[in-house]
């Protein structure tokens, strides 16, 4: 593939963080106007690779990288993202880097505003020249139009839906005149399906204009649909570099994981469960963006109960409210004992545990080591991992027991780390998620809430997480309430699935119900129809 017409070429890139090799001899090239799909598990090194390409300071801070980046056949060394921008590389990150209070136009043109000198310039210099708002608007509108979407250029970013933010960010990159390579890191993760389709269309148009694109995504079917060529990374090396025509979604998945991903395990969902583990009556939760209005349901002993629905409809509010993290009201009964709401301690004491969807914000002590993260909950809630000294006068943390516990879970959940002393922030997303699960399991909960357990993690880690949940459910009888945006995932593991719409439960279905039925519930169409396996 390495021919002389290639615009960008990576040769033998390698990189290690804190002694862990993240990238090893990665080479590929990108031709003008080509769309390259880059896929790989979390921790495979995609993000690191893109950081190197974009000259992120974090790379230099952690000891630089090995290998060469060539642009137009000449070696390029980027000391900062500014150098990369000058060389014509644009990047759209997983997290938005937009200024919320500014309009789309202002964000798109930020720091590149066309300006004309005013009287103040004479006195104070260039920084005080006057913005040419009309030109700015025209250019912003052109950039947005190139993407084929309709966004009002005068809307403040803070008031936009997530999808529009994503488009604004891309528009900012393509407005640069010298833009030649556009890197998109998981651009569709936050988009709805229809928005994603528009984005893919826009990217194709950009490629036709001669812009090369590196497209990173977990959604394999999108990659296949969009890319001309696909590079698969696994454990820091390129395992495949193939034209799209020669690969199917299945191939990609198995290359990424390096083992066969079997069809979803034969379903053995049960509907003969008896006994009630949890009953929720008229729950309301005031969680910003995920308001729960009036929710009642009950969960059987030993069941895996799924809660699905579209984003923003309130499904995330349910576990957060019950666990006392947001203001809530109504009644929640665990094994007939009423749980005090608004008090995390009460919920934990009652034997419930929660794996939050906000991994970095709520789920982890990023600066502390793995053993702290895993043992902390059990120590505080149950007084475990403490040892008595002075004849029981005083309790100290039992570092040894904590280490044993951490090592047990590191082995059990295959957490990739250097040791139990490694700070949680150094782990990749998937491994952090496993850490969150370990923390919850260490509490030996009677009832476990897991919220978006597979968000932002790769196929292999996803399977492991789901298998672990199933294992705890089947072998230890842990009742699980799983909230997820991915219907397929819910259907592969749950015994019953409730769909939340506008803060209320629209219906409860069996996992083998028709896909269309789920779709109807999500869109609020079948709110009052009789439902199989329904509420009690």
């Amino acid at each position: 593939m390495a021919n002389d017409t290639s615009l960008l070429r990576l040769e033998g890139i390698s990189k290690d963080f804190y002694g862990t090799t993240v990238l090893k001899d990665v080479s590929f090239s990108l031709a003008k106007g080509e769309i390259l799909g880059l896929v790989g598990e979390n921790g495979a090194g995609k993000t690191t690779l893109m950081r190197i390409l974009f000259g992120m300071p974090v790379i230099a801070e952690t000891g630089g990288y090995g290998g060469h980046v060539l642009i137009d056949g000449k070696e390029a060394v980027f000391k900062s993202p500014f150098d990369a921008l000058d060389a014509g590389i644009g990047m759209v990150h997983q997290e938005f880097s937009l200024i919320p209070g500014f309009t789309a136009t202002e964000n798109i043109m930020l720091n590149r505003e066309p300006s004309k000198p005013g009287s103040a310039v004479e006195l104070f210099g260039e920084r005080l020249s006057i913005l040419e708002r009309a030109v700015m608007k025209k250019r912003a509108v052109t950039a947005i139009a190139r993407l084929g979407v309709k966004i009002d250029s005068e809307t403040a970013v803070s008031e936009m839906p997530v999808g529009h933010k994503q488009f604004t960010e891309i528009a900012r990159e393509i407005d640069r005149e010298n833009m030649r390579v556009l890197v998109l890191d998981e651009p569709t993760a936050v988009l709805t399906e229809s928005e994603a389709d528009i984005l893919l269309g826009a990217l194709r148009r950009l490629a036709a204009d001669g812009i090369s694109i590196i497209f990173i995504s977990h959604r394999l079917h999108e990659v296949i649909e969009l890319a001309d060529r696909i590079v698969v990374l696994r454990d820091g090396t390129v395992v495949k570099d193939v034209p799209t025509g020669k690969a199917t979604v299945r191939d990609l998945a198995s290359w990424m994981v390096g083992r066969d991903v079997g069809a979803a395990a034969a379903r053995d969902f049960r509907h003969d469960l008896c006994g009630e583990a949890l009953r929720v009556e008229h729950l309301w939760v005031d969680m910003p963006g995920e308001t729960v209005r009036d929710v009642s349901f009950s969960v059987c002993e030993g069941e895996i109960f799924g809660i699905g629905g579209l984003a923003g409809q309130g499904k995330l509010g349910i576990p957060n409210g019950i666990m006392g993290l947001f203001a809530a009201g109504g009644r929640v009964l665990l094994h007939e004992a009423e749980i005090t709401l608004d008090a995390p301690k009460a919920a934990l004491d009652a034997g419930m545990a929660f794996v939050s969807e906000d991994r970095r914000g709520v789920g982890l002590l990023l600066d502390e080591s793995l053993d702290w993260n895993i043992a902390f909950g059990a120590m505080q809630v149950k007084g475990e991992y403490l040892k008595k000294i002075f004849g029981g006068l005083f309790n100290l943390r039992d570092e040894k027991a904590m280490r044993v516990l951490a090592e047990e879970y590191i082995a059990k959940l295959e957490i990739k780390c250097t040791s139990h002393r490694q700070p949680a922030k150094e782990l990749s997303g998937g491994n952090q998620q496993k850490l969150c699960l370990s923390k919850a399991f260490a509490l030996n909960p009677k009832l476990l809430f897991v919220s978006e357990p597979t968000r932002g993690i790769d196929v292999g880690a996803k399977k492991l997480v789901l298998d672990t949940l199933r294992h705890y459910n089947r072998d230890f009888g842990t009742t699980i309430v799983m909230v997820s945006s991915e219907l397929e995932e819910l259907r592969s593991i749950c015994d019953r699935i409730a769909i939340v719409d506008e803060g209320r439960i629209a219906g409860i279905l069996r996992p083998d119900a028709e896909t269309a039925e789920f779709g109807l519930l999500m869109s609020g169409e079948a709110a009052d129809g009789p439902i199989d396996g329904g509420e009690r």
Binding site: M323, L325, P344, K345, A347, L348, D349, F354, S356, D358, G361, V362, G363, L364, L365, L366, D367, E368, W372, F376, G377, M379, Q380, V381, G383, L386, I389, F394, N395, L396, R397, K425
Partner: protein, 352 residues
């Protein structure tokens, strides 16, 4: 193995930080130069040890609040005032010797705990701005107490103004009460110039051990987690507010004990404006020892106190002999405030 060792050594140096290395070398240089300008090294070392014992506990007082994410305790005077109340009451009651010192400890504790609770509750209302507020709380309580020192009905003649018979003097001698009671406990004297204040060092060791126990307890662990990620702690059933209050109370108690140790070594109780700037040397010392605003450990305390007190001891004697002018105060202020600025600019090191 050697490669790894080398890497670790480089990391250790980087973690230790250039300011500390420079100051360490500076102190070392002062010790080397000392004999040539007629300053005795043994006297100097003895002075450093005495000052270490004198100030160590107050530096220790900063650890819990830093760990709990409540920042540097610029409000250390809150604890110090409690200590002063304990000390003056003990003298007022005429307690002398060991009874006097332990009496002062016993009398200051209730004040320290109550002040700590109130101060902690206040700090919980101003999350994110703790250090600014703490500084003003410190200034306010010192100024307020300046009024009370005059008004409170102390009667012991060694403490009150001779001409009026009421109101405390600015400096109260502890002669005949408990001057150097810790310093002279099991004291080791070598020659006429070297004194090891065993008792004070032991007291520091005891206080440090108690702090270690506290930080390794369930509460101490919870407190550290609150400092690291309050949301995580909350989701694990820990009340961040309560933990922060606990840290402030412990800090105030250590501040009170710290000033008592300071007084017995110094030989005087200083009231009125004396406690106003007491927090700064302590803060500078712990930062010098390698603590960041949100992470501190006992090693930081020990290393920092030694370095900081080393400079304070050595600069007046050595620099003044060389330069024939009084530079010590200037250097002390330069280093303590410089260190505080340096640490505050590096505040972002903690991942949120």
């Amino acid at each position: 193995m050697t490669e790894e060792f080398k890497k670790k050594a480089v990391d250790a140096v980087r973690d230790f930080g250039w300011p500390r290395i420079i100051i360490f070398l500076f102190v070392l240089l002062l010790f080397i130069v000392a004999p040539f300008v007629g300053v005795r090294v043994d006297t100097s070392i003895s002075d450093v040890l005495i000052r270490f014992g004198q100030n160590g506990v107050m530096v220790l007082a900063l650890v819990p609040m830093m760990q709990a994410g409540a920042g540097l305790n610029f409000g250390l005077p809150v604890g110090i005032i409690a200590g002063l109340l304990g000390a003056t009451l003990s003298v007022q009651f005429g307690l002398t010797g060991w009874i006097g010192f332990t009496g002062a400890i016993g009398l200051c504790l209730p004040f320290a705990i109550v002040f700590g609770l109130l101060y902690g509750m206040l700090l919980n209302k101003v999350k994110g701005e703790e250090m600014t507020i703490a500084m003003y709380v410190g200034f306010s309580i010192v100024t307020f107490m300046s009024i009370l020192w005059i008004v409170l009905p102390y009667t012991n003649p060694t403490m009150v103004w001779g001409y009026s018979g009421t109101g405390l003097r600015t400096t109260i001698t502890l002669d005949g009460y408990w001057t150097k009671i810790l310093n002279d406990f099991l004291v080791i004297r070598i020659g006429s110039n070297f004194t090891l204040p065993t008792g004070a060092i032991l007291f520091f060791a005891l206080a440090a051990f108690a702090m270690w126990l506290f930080m390794h307890s369930r509460t101490g662990t919870a407190l550290t987690a609150v400092g690291s990620n309050p949301d995580f702690a909350r989701a694990s059933g820990v009340s961040a507010d309560r933990m922060r209050i606990a840290s402030v109370v412990v800090s105030s108690v250590y501040g009170a004990l710290g000033i008592l140790v300071y007084q017995q070594s110094f030989g005087f109780i200083q009231v009125y404006n004396a406690p106003l700037y007491m927090a700064f040397p302590a803060v500078a010392a712990i930062l010098l020892g390698g603590a960041s605003v949100n992470k501190a450990n006992l090693l930081n305390v020990i290393v920092g106190t030694f370095l900081f007190q080393g400079i304070l001891t050595m600069t007046p004697s050595v620099i003044n002999s060389v330069m024939k002018t009084d530079m010590s105060e200037v250097i002390r202020i330069l280093i303590s405030n410089g260190m505080i600025i340096y640490a505050l600019t590096r505040k972002t090191k903690v991942t949120k």
